[in-house]
């Protein structure tokens, strides 16, 4: 019986580890295999602070968590620049370095012998020196830590994390500060792992490097994969299954050493098996309509209008670019680009291939910094701003290759793009939940309005990957509209659509302009330009050659000559 309780205690610790790890690899998509290192940090911090400095509970725990969170934030730095398997190997390397430091830390870390004699916690006069006495604390810690991860996952911040995971460029393009998100999630995941580490140290009164090897990280990884990345209940189940399952080996007669290896063989096989047979894990990613949705479904009144757009005083020119230039190591892509984008007007960018349209577009939206020239948004210079800052200022773009958040629902794709969400900040998630809840309700209605505008309301709760191609294109428009930006720049929004669908979608773009938006599109199908655009700008050799109505430009023999090289 005592042994069973011991296993339960370990299960609690692993719940903390798996939920925090899932936040990092499942929700944020940051494949950092250094979790055992964070676990170790928490454990050793407590070990050292108690045995060498005699600090009482809960100080070592708190200090350990803070320190490890700091380390986590540092690890986020390489994660800025590299991803994929490079991040994996870097974090594995980190793990090895940490272990080497612990092994060679001499007296300070106890070296290969570890640190023993860690004092037990005393709570309310009871010494937590047995599984029975420790279990309540472990359970409470597990519940609290898991609750923290659940709260984050279900908050607007969690939604933004998933968007970042799906497509980082698109997340930036809808105004998310990706740097902040990566640092925050690393710090939190690391801090939570440290809680588990600290508890482990206090539970078995010993820390040694054998508990924090690569195998340990892979063990935790197996639990997360088994339960399903992106599903926190799955992580809890995965932790429980993989902590209890190997105990079945106790019934088979073998030496503890062999049993230990046998357990690892089982983890490895389960990992491979799950990936082959059911890669989404037991529970798969959690996809439900937000809580708000269940409350009110009567949005029959959701109109197809966007609501009034504040009439700006004076000049109707929203964006004014003059003399923009961009070169890439000697090759001049754009040399002298001028454009005026006006409120209520759809402007088209046309020109032969290689004319510099995409480069010009990228400069207007902050994805490239111009080498020369100015861009003004209602008189305010904006050339130096990063994409997410430009979005917040009111200039947003779509992508030629869509970059939809495929594993999220249609509604979530729009929700995540809505501006001024206090829930984007971790602090607000925990300190201002009432405000966030209110915003979520408002945002839900707003999102539904937008979906109604693009005729996608019925598909709100479907996964983006289940949409038809034409519907995907509409979702791109909806997501862009959701940013609330005044200036909408579309990169080939209608490419690949058949003529019938085009006729259905044209009115939606016209209504954007009628509602006072400033719209600019790049399109290679000149029929689209002629139908949609009030004004077209002809680029060639990186310069603005002519401006006029699409009919004027396409009937001009000189321009036609230029168009075809």
């Amino acid at each position: 019986m005592e042994y069973l309780i011991h296993v339960l205690v370990m299960a609690c610790l692993y719940v903390i580890l798996t939920t925090s790890f899932n936040l990092l690899i499942g929700f944020a998509g940051l494949f950092a295999l250094s979790h055992a290192a964070f676990y170790a940090f928490g454990a050793y911090a407590t070990a050292i602070l108690t045995t060498q400095y005699g600090l009482p509970f809960p100080l070592p725990l708190l200090i350990g968590v803070a320190m490890t969170a700091g380390v986590g934030a540092l690890v986020a730095i390489p994660a800025m620049r590299i991803g994929g398997h490079y991040l994996v190997i870097v974090t594995l390397a980190l793990q090895v370095i940490v272990l080497a430091v612990l092994l060679n830390g001499g007296h300070f870390t106890g070296g290969p012998d570890g640190i023993a004699g860690i004092p037990k916690i005393e709570l309310f006069g009871v010494a937590l020196n047995s599984p029975q006495t420790f279990l309540p604390l472990a359970a409470v810690a597990a519940v609290v830590c898991a609750a923290i991860t659940f709260r984050i996952a279900r908050s607007p911040f969690g939604r933004a994390l998933k968007a970042m995971r799906e497509n980082e460029a698109a997340a930036a393009a809808i105004g998310k500060n990706v740097v902040y998100m990566k640092v925050a999630v690393f710090a939190i995941a690391a801090g939570l792992a440290a809680v588990a580490g600290s508890l482990l140290a206090r539970y078995i009164s010993f820390v040694g490097t054998e508990s924090f090897t690569i195998e340990e990280t892979i063990y935790i990884l197996a639990m997360v994969i088994l339960g399903g990345t992106g599903n926190l209940w799955g992580s809890i189940i995965g932790a429980i299954v993989l902590v209890f399952l190997p105990e079945a080996l106790k019934f088979v007669d073998m030496s503890p050493d062999v049993a230990d290896k046998m357990r690892q063989v089982i983890y490895g096989l389960i990992l491979i098996g799950i990936l082959l047979v059911r890669p989404q894990g037991i529970l798969g990613e959690h996809r439900t309509a937000p809580r708000v949705a269940r409350r009110e479904r009567t949005d029959a009144h959701a109109t197809e209008e966007l609501g009034p757009v504040a009439a700006a005083p004076g000049d109707d020119v929203t964006i004014r670019a003059r003399g923009l230039a961009k070169n890439f190591g000697g090759i001049v892509a754009v040399r002298n680009f001028d454009i005026d984008l006006k409120r209520g007007v759809i402007t088209g960018l046309i020109g032969p291939n290689g004319a510099g349209k995409t480069t010009a577009f990228n400069m207007l939206t902050g994805f490239l910094q111009p080498n020369a020239g100015t861009i003004e948004l209602r008189g305010r210079p904006v050339s130096g701003l990063k994409p997410h800052q430009l979005v917040q200022a009111g200039v947003a773009r779509s992508f030629q290759d869509l970059k939809l958040f495929t594993k999220m629902t249609v509604l979530e794709n729009v929700l995540v793009a809505l501006p001024h969400q206090s829930g984007d900040s971790i602090a607000a998630v925990f300190l201002g939940p009432a405000r966030i809840k209110r915003q979520e309700e408002e945002n839900y209605h707003r999102a539904m309005e937008i979906l109604a505008f693009v005729r996608l309301r019925d598909k709100a709760h479907e996964s983006a990957e289940d949409l038809s191609y034409a519907e995907e294109k509409l979702l791109v428009v909806a997501r862009l509209l959701a940013t609330g930006a005044e200036v909408l720049l579309f990169d080939e929004p209608l490419s690949g659509l058949d003529p019938t669908t085009l006729q259905e979608i044209f009115p939606i773009f016209r209504r954007l302009a009628e509602n006072g938006k400033t719209v600019c599109i790049i399109e290679h199908n000149l029929d689209v330009i002629k139908t949609l655009c009030d004004v077209a700008v002809f680029l060639d050799e990186g310069r603005t050659i002519a401006t006029g109505t699409p009919d004027e430009l396409t009937r001009n023999p000189e321009l036609a000559q230029r168009y075809f090289g």
């Binding site: 290679h524 029929d527 075809f564």
Partner: protein
Amino acid sequence: MTAAHQSSADPARAAAPGPTGTAVLAVEGLHTGYGKKAVVHGVDLALQDREILLMLGHNGAGKTTLVATAFGMIKPSAGRVLFQGRDITGRKPAENVAAGIAYVPQGHGIFRSLSVRENLELGAFAVTDKARVRKTLDTVFQLFPILKERAAQIGGTMSGGQQQMLAIGMALMHEPKVIVLDEPSIGLAPNLVGRVMESIATVNREFGTAILMVEQNVKYSLPVAHRVVVLKTGQKVYDGPPAPLEDRVELMKLF
């Protein structure tokens, strides 16, 4: 210029080296795309023997998707691909190569880290008769002397135009009956484009190879074409002689 002319060999050209009136590569009612993105919506076209057929159209009209499907890189959702009258729909690229179709994909389809000679030899990977390969290599070197000069040079270090010639040379190495070229002029300086087009015309003239060429650079490609096909939003909107398209304003109406 909106009616699609039915394709038949221009009688004035029949006598001279040029199209002979038999379709060597054809697609019938082709519907194809990527995953759920349907790009080509029911296109018929036929490349005649010994002909240079130029395919034009705006970006995203489906040109690359169509030719890639004809070669076997993509499986169509409906319709057929025929080679010398035989149905080859969905056949793997390697089989099409062995049957005599060569494909030069967009962006210099060469092996950048290998030498010119190695690239050319790899072009003949499927050919078992090594003596024949050596002969073909000599022919290609005669056609493109610059490749002979730089036979030992690493492909990736050559200029864009030279790389394109290498790509065409590779295609020739297994003596194909048809060469499908996807935007051979992409990324090349204008004067080089002219030279590449010349070599394509020479290949057609001297070896009688039928050529299906997708292009964006109308200025240099139109003069070498026997016939032109224009795609717009996945459908064919023109199929006829190149002359009427000299009027660029008329051509623009097709884009």
